[in-house]
Symmetry: C2
Amino acid sequence: MIPNAIKNFIEHFRKIPGLGPRAATRLAFFISRLDTQTRSNLIESLKNLENLERCKRCFFIKEKEQELCEICSDSRRDSRIIAIVEKDTDILTLEKPREFRGTYLILGELSGRGILEESHKNRIEQLKRRIEGEPEGNIEEIILAVNPHALGDMLYEILKRDFKHLTSHITRLGRGLPTGGEIEFADEETLKNALRRRS
Amino acid sequence: MIPNAIKNFIEHFRKIPGLGPRAATRLAFFISRLDTQTRSNLIESLKNLENLERCKRCFFIKEKEQELCEICSDSRRDSRIIAIVEKDTDILTLEKPREFRGTYLILGELSGRGILEESHKNRIEQLKRRIEGEPEGNIEEIILAVNPHALGDMLYEILKRDFKHLTSHITRLGRGLPTGGEIEFADEETLKNALRRRS
């Protein structure tokens, strides 16, 4: 009953995380109702993503013709301070307060099975080689900036063990009450961390 | 800091209802991480929506080369029974129980300002001409199958007034307790309707 073009669209777009079959169906009907120009714009902007690839230094997204990403190639950034994050969009969020002037390493999402995957281990290995390749063979600080979960805690211990000869300073993001949050409604784990890491 | 291709993608996709800037951003990064083949499939399936248009009888989506949509051209469907719905996806949902064997008219979404727009009025006019063009100039039943809201009630009164010479049977979908729902948790309006329309 549904045209094949719609079925085909749903089949391909439903696999995108956060969409699923219902959202993909609504999307298909919405896009098929658009005028030709607006739809062409969508197609073009989707095609243009083809011209992107990962920065070979930090794995953030960059244009193919660039040598490194905008952050790694910015001489005002301190490459001796490296924040380890899970994904591109975490970098966007961390950049918003304009507080951090170091560089990054994207590790890939830590989730689900609670273990470090081969891909994560490879990127950590690569970070080690990147630091060893620095003029003095060490750096100022590594900041673990992953979501607060048990695997993050484990990763922190691994970094302290494996990177101690490369930097004296291995930190992670503060844990505690979010600004605007209320003690009354904080969960036990958050309160425990807020107490332990009081300063 | 973000490549232009990503900015451009977000700019175009954020306007899609149900997406917004955050979802469009996640979508952009997700798609840029896909392998070339998977991304090509997305592009192709988006392009193919170009080959669709509206059925000139009921306004449901159809392939360009078809004369009418799958439902209107199905000889087993009773074209003398017409359900008025708001949008394509409502037809998909109404078709699921395999209960309804009539045809449809898509009116366009009734929402927001609580009034009938010019586009809705045009489609109602077109329905009138469609019925007047029938062999006997009248039909068996018009079913108003729009979401339960005040504008639907108003539309029902309009149909009763304007279509009474074309059909003796103008109905609307039942209102009352949803199957599996509990009286204890039903809102007042639902209970009122369940009582008034008891049978």
